[in-house]
Symmetry: C3
Subunit: 434 residues, 3 copies
């Protein structure tokens, strides 16, 4: 069954709810770019999709980088002079700066302060901080709580470990009719932040689950990786696979109710760029298409000049451009089942284009074929306006072997699926060949 048809069988409301519930399970886990939080999260993803787990040992050379030590944390807190826990990792893992080295000390407030991070612009939110490549420790707290700290000696504890171990990522490969691949990549390294990027994880997982159940034209590869170092690790050991990637998407921030944003690949005019623009444009809702820039997430690695892969980024509100980004306000209230299911929907429409895009050739290219004698009815009078025969006429006219279905969709402004259906019908009558 074709993906466009499968879509019509899905109960989107239920799927949105199921994705939301998966986010709720993943939310409390303390993830970072390495460590058990990633493993726990991938175990949950694995309930949905056949996930191969990879462990890359600390110190492994990956291009210009090496895999960092593994970080784990059991507990962390700060007690004020009166013994009250004023900061407590057990309440939210955002309170500890990711990759904090272990600390167990008493110190006056003045000595503690340089290790405390808050955001006066959003006084009730806890910001999220990390220090992956410089050994440091720190606590994050709301500005309101920061203001309440009283002078005196504080007990500081970070019960973490930073030791040789491994970097963990998950990979799910779904073979298709051809060995050419579509890559879907999402980052799994953020702690209790819902939109960035539990939303990307669950949408990816549900998509993989769906595709695993149907025949596929392309082979699909899903990556659940720590941002940056994860894509570098994967590329370093998969150069040959990378050369087979025909299309790809980085998924992130897909659970809020903002307008869709697509950031193009470095190439800017790859099929994935045109497919995403077409779907977002067809949706008739406001949407942004941003040109590639070398900032952001794993697209920085996939689109580095030595790879220059045709991979874009699909988001709702774009990373860095919503106030809740990387704060405690990116929580279970900020993402919604409806937004997740809409994102899933758009993603399926994009995949349906990739799967079904073909170059056809009209077998009867001199003048129009006599459709009526084959029982193909073009409704009514002369066809001038937009109507159901449009896809048939556009296809017959443009199918000269040099225009793909996507080219025809973009040129005609017709939606891809109607062209696909028309193509199927015309092939049945022998009027189109591939």
């Amino acid at each position: 069954m074709d993906i466009a048809k499968v879509k019509s069988t899905l109960h989107m409301e239920d799927m949105g709810q199921a994705m939301y519930e998966m986010i709720a399970r993943l939310f409390p886990i303390c993830r970072s770019i390495t460590g058990n939080g990633v493993r726990e999260s991938l175990a949950i993803v694995r309930e949905h999709v056949p996930l191969e787990l990879h462990e890359i040992p600390s110190g492994t050379r990956i291009y210009d980088w090496s895999v960092p030590q593994e970080w784990n944390i059991r507990d962390a807190f700060v007690r004020d002079p009166s013994g009250i826990k004023v900061i407590d990792f057990q309440r939210s893992n955002l309170h500890v700066m990711s990759y904090s080295v272990p600390v167990r000390a008493r110190m006056p407030l003045e000595a503690l302060r340089p290790h405390l991070y808050s955001d006066p612009d959003h006084p009730n939110w806890v910001p999220n901080r990390r220090s992956y490549y410089k050994k440091d420790w720190g606590f994050c707290l709301s500005y309101a709580d920061m203001q309440k700290l009283i002078p005196g000696d504080y007990e500081v504890c970070i019960d973490s470990s930073l030791e040789d171990g491994s970097l963990t990522y998950g990979e799910c490969f779904l073979p298709g009719d051809v060995t050419d691949e579509v890559l879907i990549s999402t980052h799994v390294c953020h702690p209790s932040l819902c939109n960035d990027n539990l939303s990307g994880i669950v949408v990816s997982a549900f998509l993989a689950q769906l595709l695993a159940a149907i025949p596929l034209h392309f082979s699909y590869r899903f990556l659940f990786i720590p941002q940056g170092i994860g894509s570098i690790s994967w590329l370093a050991s998969n150069e040959e696979v990378a050369s087979r990637i025909r299309h790809g998407l980085v998924l992130s921030c897909l659970g809020d109710d903002g307008d869709f944003t697509y950031k193009t690949s470095r190439r800017g005019d790859a099929d994935i760029d045109r497919a995403c623009s077409h779907v977002l444009h067809e949706s008739a809702k406001p949407a942004r298409v941003l040109k590639f820039s070398p900032h952001g997430g794993d697209e920085r690695q996939f689109c580095s000049p030595g790879f220059d892969l045709p991979i874009g980024v699909l988001m709702r509100s774009s990373y860095g451009n919503f106030p809740q980004y990387h704060t405690s306000a990116d929580d279970l209230n900020f993402v919604q089942p409806k937004a997740l299911s809409e994102s899933f929907n758009v993603l399926i429409d994009i995949i349906a284009i990739l799967e079904n895009n073909r170059n056809y050739r009209n077998t009867c290219p001199r003048c129009e074929p006599y459709l009526a004698k084959r029982g193909i009815s073009l409704s009514g009078d002369w066809p001038f306006g937009p109507s159901k025969e449009q896809p048939v006429l556009w296809l017959l006219n443009m199918a000269d072997g040099s225009h793909s279905l996507l080219d025809i969709a973009v040129r005609s402004g017709l939606d891809f699926d109607s062209l696909c259906q028309a193509a199927r019908m015309l092939r049945k009558y022998g009027l189109l060949t591939e």
Copy 2:
């Protein structure tokens, strides 16, 4: 004498009047895609231009199609229960659906109704209907008249014939200096409808008459054909001729006072597309340039992918986009002599570009030539602004063999004729060669 010069000798007002009178003569004839109505109409066209008549026998295979049977009609009417002719072909041939099979019957109003067509949106207009490829019969009447029909038994008569015969079209070939051709095609299959397309017929006929009298660079071929099946018939037996077509236009709807519309060829950037855009743009009146789409008239066949000819469509209000289209309101009041002569004017400007477009080469390409010593006066002081020396300077600068006059007109924004005149002058002085 060059066409641009001929134009200045024409009395446009008289020509508009003469074209209008020719429409008035053609108006009452009942045309369809085959039959005597076409022959009668072509006989009138033949008074103006040397027209070769072609008769293609019914059943002839033309690509995926075959030539239909020939349809002729003598009379048709409907009498109401009281014996009154409530619908009468003699009053207007629009009352009968084109290609109606013969009928002679009595039937109650309920049985008649499915064969009656009217348009409640324009209650006083008679719509125009045809059923070429499905055997059927029908009457068209105004919605107002439809409402007046009383219950009871009706006498129905369509005295038509649908038999083996032939499809008729007219062709006028005007040889030029080169065997490369310009094709002008217009459809002759519509009954008493003025703008669509008696206007196209008369403008074509007058243009052919004009071109027949002057020396031509290109060879010109005028087709007076039934829409769809006519262009298919012609293409099927003229593939080699088609390969010589360098430019072409389908003419229709040229008699109303709407703004000009040009619909590009499938290629979109053919010389004919740029010439028409340039002329319409230069006219400084509102005009539309529409991109090709595979709907409409004979351009559907000429621009089918196996031919992809550089042929566009010139119209005033575009087919399907004026309320009178295919109704009794497209009558002798809807078209006007002035609109016809304006259309003729624009068409001559377009032909003048096709005829005179050349690639020249400046024989003195290093620095500007010393024009004054040849007596070529560039007025006044340094030439900065728009003035008469502009065409000379643009030509000398751009004439490097890779820019045609049309290219230079488009780039400079100068009108084509002034560039033509300047080119003629500069050739006289040996400063340009072809």
Copy 3:
């Protein structure tokens, strides 16, 4: 020392003042396309730059032209019937039409009138006139003064000479690392007119002086030539040099306070065109970029089809488009030190792009390099917004050998200098090679 660094050492206010003072010295001299006025002016330019003077004898064939006779003038006046000098060359050299043949005569006002030029639209301004290629004489005066002339006999004297001699131009060549050249051309043939073109002369002279003092990548050639016949003369004897020109600018009208105008080369997309557009765009002030047209100054010769050199024109208000143009109002009040220094500034920014534009290649093209381990600090958190690491990331991403720094500046919207600095830093670390 690099030009961008030199710029920061300049005291722009002083330079503007110095340029203005040089204009004031040049102002009284009566220049034309030949004669001692040009020589006197070049002598002043020579105080700043090592200028080679060329004298091309009258009658020398230069392509389609020949060098005209040399014109010199000592005095000229008109005395009215009462003996009063109503027009006096000693008050302003604009009063005599340039290239006026000698005259000594008495004539009634009616006979004199055809030789008098004034402008009723600006009744207090004296227009500027020339008659280089047609032997004639004339006087220019304000319309107000013209109105005061009384009937009667006038004494007319033009003490000029038009004899075989030579055409004079100045050339300053500054050798660089490569023999490829940048051409800077400015016209020196206008009499007491400040903006057109003493401004171009002084900005050129100061630029040559600056460039003479620093190491250069390209070789630079400055031309101080009479307009039209001067560029034709130079091209005729420098075809081989012309073939080495990679970039060039014609400088004129750089002293008024109008917005900047850049007129592109005939090619329209040459590096000089993109460099100038980028600098004017980056300045964040209103600026115009005009497409090439074959009117104007020496670009008409440099961009003639046989040369088609990548040479544009840099101006403030564009020639012909300010009311003071070619009138006595283009005087020492119309140009300002501040405007001259701004123009000089912009010009240096343009030269800095030409000098430093290179194609680099990222030596570490697969994934991003690990910058932090080299001590290259990218500030703070993930880099999403505009900030100092942007040039580094854009460079690493785009430096694939097919994008120049200018390409990257245009694509990223970053200013060229920040990219240059980043490139220098990355080369130091071995991350970029040329």
